[in-house]
């Protein structure tokens, strides 16, 4: 049986206070399992980001429970939540949130530095993480010297370098063109193949649906649908004869491009 990494049970999240109070999540149940790439889709204001914040241990739910690798966030203070994030969750953000004054290597190493890992070992791991996303040759580059796609790959390297159980990505392709968006999703899909990890991607972008193992739809703070996908072959079939380029083809093309630098 596949191991559950993150689990939300009957999560209610109330945001704001007084007249401005909003119930952003209304009894959400969701679990993320290892080896899966889950897409969380829904219209603006549906509660996607709030759910991501709750699952990512940035918010404690008003009601219900969230468990990360069996650890409940119930009653956790800011430092406890930070520890859970540090130990179990990696984030990829829409606008990358890289540190402009640090190199790609230092941006990635930062995750290990906040854990107190020794710098020599941290540098080695950060280099490996960057190499795994095809950026071994850009370790000394600053974010301003990288393209949007490269910056997002640095952000992914940062998310995976601490070997977290869950990678939570918020609109990771929104700021990228189609080609770079596919490349990023390819990397995330590859990460999701790891049987010890789960990847959740919040998105509006229908172009990345083919990469999903599972699609969860949320509307008005409630999960309204869930769909399991059968893998890459099925994706190609569903997309029809006019959209024959499979994910595998796309991956091969992107890998060729990376190899060319």
């Amino acid at each position: 049986m596949t191991e559950t990494v993150l689990e939300a049970s009957n999560v209610v999240q109330v945001l704001g206070s007084g007249a401005g109070q909003v119930q952003a999540l209304k009894g959400v149940n969701l679990s993320l399992k290892c080896g899966e790439l889950t897409l969380l889709m829904g219209p603006s204001g549906s509660g996607k980001t709030t759910l991501l914040s709750v699952l990512g241990c940035m918010l404690t739910p008003t009601q219900g429970t969230v468990r990360v690798r069996g650890h409940s966030t119930e009653g956790a203070g800011p430092e406890d939540l930070a520890r859970l994030r540090r130990d179990h969750v990696g984030f990829v953000f829409q606008s990358y949130h890289l540190f402009p004054t640090l190199t790609a290597l230092d941006n990635v190493r930062l995750v290990l530095d906040v854990r107190g890992e020794r710098w020599r070992a941290a540098i080695k791991r950060a280099k490996n993480a960057l190499a795994s996303v095809g950026l071994a040759h850009k370790i000394k580059a600053y974010p301003r010297e990288l393209s949007g796609g490269e910056q997002q790959r640095v952000a992914i390297a940062r998310a995976i370098v601490g070997n977290p159980s869950a990678i939570l990505a918020d609109e990771p392709t929104a700021a990228l063109d189609s080609e770079n968006g596919h490349a990023i999703m390819d990397v995330l899909a590859h990460i999701a193949r790891d049987p010890s990890r789960s990847v959740l991607v919040v998105t509006h972008d229908p172009r990345i649906v083919p990469f999903a193992d599972r699609i969860v739809r949320i509307e008005d703070g409630c999960i309204v649908g869930e769909e399991r996908r059968g893998g890459e072959g099925r994706v190609a079939e569903e997309r029809g004869a006019d959209e024959k380029r499979s994910v595998a083809d796309e991956r091969a093309r992107v890998q060729r491009k990376w190899a060319q630098g």
Partner: protein
């Protein structure tokens, strides 16, 4: 290298203009504090310079004397009473007083006369650069400091003037014996000092007691106190402290200097706090990202404290250089600024403290940071 330190440095140097403004604020603040406290130390040392250069174990002073320059008088008989106390080897009289120095060209200026017996050099001039202390035994001889030549209308050895209608002649010249009152010191023999100040031969301002080598100073002091009335018997350290306390605190001069120093610290703290706070606000996304990737609050505080410490080190380096130049410039003035190694260390610690305290507002800002904001920015 710790990434917290690297990040702090990059945050600071990223906005060079703000960094320069911060450093200028620190420099102004610390230079102001240096000058004020340096003046305090210089003044404190200057007001006790005569006590520091007198040789003796105990001072017999008129009761209620506030400082060295306080011109009350003691009866000469008390000297003999003191000499009769067991353990007292000598009780050398010292006479001080104001007088008018009449220049050869006819002008006059007030001077502060100090007279003591040349034997034993009780309170003889020091830093003699022309002539000698022994030359004061020549009739009419006095010693003056070269920095007051213009004021006294003399050019060096052999030049003459008058005090109380008595001819005097410069027989020794000192360097650096300056008075904080700006009234020139004139050293001479005990008898001539009495003559120049109009003090009776049966009077003296102080008696400087020399205690026998094996005697217990405290026991001798008790003996002198018991034998003499209407006097106080102080150790050199006690008389120094009393004089310093009078000039620095009873006159309000020290309080004014401390107030200036405090103002410097307050201004510096506000400037650094303001710039650190605005720097933190500018980097709030980065701090939120740090929090989002799981950094503890203490790690973020470390980054801000590093920023404060870097500010402190760079600011202090410039301030110390400027302070050192000011010290050099004032070395030959009437009131030199004195910066001791202890003061330098104290100023550095003050700079660090000031910058760390300044970080409090920034730390409070990031402590309240919501990591979820990274999703909305």
């Amino acid at each position: 290298m710790s990434l917290a330190l690297k990040l702090a440095g990059r945050n600071l140097f990223h906005d060079r203009l703000r960094f320069i403004a911060t450093v200028i604020g620190i420099v102004f603040s610390i230079v102001l504090v240096t000058v004020q406290l340096g003046l305090y130390l210089g003044f404190g040392r200057m007001v006790t310079t005569m006590i520091d250069h007198a040789s003796g174990d105990l001072w017999i002073i008129p009761a209620g004397t506030k400082c060295f320059e306080d011109p009350s008088l003691l009866d000469e008989r008390k000297r003999f009473q003191a000499l009769a106390v067991d353990g007292v080897v000598d009780a050398a009289p010292v006479v001080i007083g104001f007088a008018d120095w009449k220049m050869a060209n006819g002008g006059t200026t007030p001077v502060f006369v100090i007279g003591s017996e040349l034997r034993g050099a009780v309170l003889a001039p020091w830093n003699v650069v022309a002539g000698s202390v022994e030359d004061l035994s020549i009739p009419n001889a006095v010693a003056v400091d070269q920095s007051y030549f213009d004021r006294l209308g003399v050019n060096g050895l052999g030049d003459a003037a008058e005090i109380r209608n008595q001819r005097i002649e410069v027989a020794a010249v000192t360097k650096g014996i300056r008075s904080f009152t700006t009234t020139p010191y004139v050293f001479t023999t005990l008898d001539r000092a009495r003559a120049y100040t109009g003090i009776s031969a049966a009077k003296a301002t102080y008696f400087l007691v020399h205690v026998a080598p094996q005697a217990d100073i405290e026991r001798v002091r008790r003996g002198v106190r018991a034998a003499l009335t209407d006097v106080e018997v102080l150790t050199t350290a006690e008389f120094r402290d009393r004089s310093r306390a009078f000039w620095l605190f009873d006159t309000g001069a020290g309080a004014a200097l401390f107030a200036g120093a405090l103002l410097g610290v307050i201004v510096g703290t506000i400037i650094v706090a303001q710039t650190l706070y605005s720097s933190t606000k500018d980097h709030i996304n980065e701090f939120a990202t740090l929090r989002a990737i799981g950094s503890s609050a203490s790690y973020i505080h470390k980054v801000i404290i590093w920023q404060a410490l870097l500010n402190a080190v760079v600011g202090f380096a410039f301030a110390a250089s400027i302070g050192s130049a000011i010290v050099q410039m004032t070395a030959e003035t009437a009131l030199p600024i004195l910066v001791t190694p202890a003061l330098t260390i104290g100023l550095f610690l003050l700079t660090v403290l000031m910058c760390v305290v300044s970080a409090i507002a920034a730390i409070m800002k990031v402590t309240r940071i919501d990591p979820a904001m990274v999703f909305t920015r």
